[in-house]
Amino acid sequence: MNTRALNSLTPGGIIARGALIFMVLVWTLPTVGLLISSLREKDQLLVTGWWTALQTAERNLQGRTGAAGDQVQNDDGMYVISGTVFEEESGSQRISTYGGGFLPASGTVEYEPGEQVGLSDYSADEVVALEDGTTFTLNSDGTYEWVSPEPFELERGVRFFATVSVPPSFSLNNYDEVLSANNFDQSFINTFVVAVPSTIIPIAIAAFASYAFSWMEFPGRQLLFVIVVGLLVVPLQMSLIPLLRLYNTVGSTFGIDAKSYPGIWLAHTGFGLPLAIYLLRNYIGGLPREIIESAKIDGASHFDIFVRLVLPLSIPALASFAIFQFLWVWNDLLIALVFLNRTEDQSVMTVKMGELLGSRGDNWQVLTSSAFISILVPLIVFFSLQRYFVRGLLAGSVKGG
């Protein structure tokens, strides 16, 4: 390996570092953005970019005061209309200024050219005397009070506009929403039910087959293995239509649902087997011949040799492939769309997210949190087992290197 480090002060060194920093930023920022977005309140998520999450944002709000029907008479004999301008919980949002269809006692409100009408006529928390002798107060927490000595006769409330400052706030509300309201927790479990057997079954089958291809004598051994190598690149799209027909036939013949978990396990097994056999044969075939032969002389059958000797020795290779297959199955969309129903008890996370992405609307908060939940497990697997993952990649592509 090249041990000569680039000097950090040479022009080349600076360019190299700059280029690498740029690449790292482009490669990580989108994911960081998703994480931050998923933690933001949904009304902020929709109006400002995630990079502004730490700033206090401003937004405009419009509403209407209560009308005559809402008034109550207080102890001093005054008539009062009160309420709050926030429909939902205000949290830490604060109103700074407001305006609207109120006519002040002294003169009329004049607008500066270009100023937005009615947004900053009055400040919050100030008692404003209006021309009809009433007083109006809008507090910064959103509650308002309109007091009049005479009974109100308004049929409709007065429209007003306000500027709201929204301080940064982060919460797990979006996660809560997606898990409870959208049944994403069920999809999470479904994904596991698909992914775990779809990882273990091909590994077990491939391990036995690889051992046979490496150390057992049988007619057609070479030919069969060459076919496996050829199947490595067959696009799985080739298989979908006939398999779908086959599944439907089997389903209607036996009166069972054509789309089921065992069905998708076997499908993933079939599509994962060529790579599994290829990788594992490279490894198992590379084990020292003496080990297998001396066990043979001691009278062990191939089955004993495989289970007691070869399997424990192959753990690193098995782990490499397991990570591969697990990530592939976990992240798959196509096979899940074809081989599973889109019902609650069968939808996996990618399918759900695909649906959410397809329906354009204000569901960004659901989308961000669901996406982050779905990539959480792969990221954990990836960062904790990166070494095995890299080893598997290398075994599949550059051999002897």
């Binding site: 490669w27 779908l244 060529p274 990530l327 792969p378």
Partner: protein, 342 residues
């Protein structure tokens, strides 16, 4: 809780059945063909030889059967189906292919696919090589590599959500100010004085925005493999070149690059296969709208939209297969050569 128990039960059952098969059949084989023993239980003849004739088939049997059912049979069947009508009942000759050639959607998919095949492998491999070279000589290189490798773990769908946030646009309506942008790309453009664009709907160029997602995922793959290959270049050769006064750039192009050429080809073909099958990104980002259709998504569309047309979608699948055949042949030849070295 109940659901988790049910899930666990399903997993245990599925995996258990398989383990039962392997242990059960081997146990049965030993039972049905036992060694001959005399009256005192002392073996007089081992029948291991006979058993060893059957045992390989117990080992490879499941693999062969599953590969047969899930890959070999369907591949052949698909070729047949492509000559039949939408139900797979009536022979229609080449008319599915004729339809495809005349269909603008198909032609567009072909040209988009070619575009994908040219751009994605080139940039993924090029950027991967660049990072591998740069990161090797910088102290925090391994950390940088780890971050660039990370998208490999993310699903295409997850990646699409992530990139939706990059490309999102809040278009200005007539007469109003440009609204706040929540997509980072448009935000940069607005802050530079431009106006926001809905990137995903801009015909032709939107292909490149979708490709960026795949490049983002595949660069880490290229980087890891090429990084390992670069480390295999003998240090003495490099040292000798340096003593002769060659610049680092020349060393890279004249010594390192030729030595890792085979690996580069392997990486490119692997990415080519991934690109040919690209489905998820297009399906969830645009579903082929705004002129972004590709073969794999077209096939899926034909298969499920409007009751499904098995004939036409099979024909599209065959086209994908034909495109893969050169890679397949190359793969087998490479494998044969390596076997010769063993």
């Amino acid at each position: 809780m109940e659901r988790i128990v049910a899930a666990l039960a399903a997993i245990v059952l599925g995996v258990g059945a398989l383990i039962l098969y392997f242990f059960g059949t081997n146990f049965l084989l030993d039972r049905l063909m036992p060694d001959r023993v005399d009256a005192n239980g002392i073996p007089i003849e081992s029948r291991e030889k006979q058993r060893e004739r059957i045992r390989p088939w117990l080992f490879v049997g499941p693999a062969v059967i599953i590969l047969g059912i899930y890959l070999v049979y369907p591949a052949i069947q698909t070729i047949f189906l492509s000559f039949f009508d939408d139900n797979g009942k009536e022979f229609v000759g080449l008319s599915n292919y004729q339809w495809a050639i005349e269909n603008p959607g198909f032609r567009q998919s072909i040209s988009n696919n070619i575009l994908w095949l040219l751009i994605v492998p080139f940039f993924s491999t090029g950027l991967g090589l660049l990072v591998a070279v740069l990161a090797d000589r910088i102290r925090w290189g391994p950390f940088a590599k780890s971050l660039i490798f990370m998208p490999m773990a993310i699903s295409f769908v997850g990646a699409s959500v992530i990139w939706k946030f990059v490309y999102d646009a809040n278009l200005a309506s007539a007469g109003n100010d440009i609204p706040q942008q929540i997509g980072i790309l448009n935000s940069i453009i607005v802050s530079l004085g431009g106006s926001p664009t809905d990137w995903i709907t801009v015909s032709f160029w939107n292909n490149f925005f979708l490709m960026m997602i795949l490049i983002w995922i595949q660069t880490g793959f290229a980087m890891v493999i090429l990084g390992a290959a670069l480390r295999g270049v003998p240090e003495e050769t490099l040292e000798a070149a340096r003593i002769d006064g060659a610049s680092e750039v020349r060393i890279f192009f004249n010594i390192m690059l030729p030595q890792i050429m085979t690996t580069i080809l392997v990486v490119i073909t692997t990415i080519i296969i991934t690109v040919l099958k690209v489905f998820d990104v297009v399906q969830v980002m645009t579903n082929g709208q705004w002129d972004t259709q590709v073969l794999a998504n077209l096939m899926y569309d034909l298969m499920f939209r409007g009751g499904g047309d098995f004939g036409r979608s099979s024909a599209v699948a065959v086209v994908i297969m034909v495109a893969v055949i050169p890679v397949l042949v190359w793969n087998i030849r490479r494998f044969r050569q390596e076997e010769a070295y063993r």
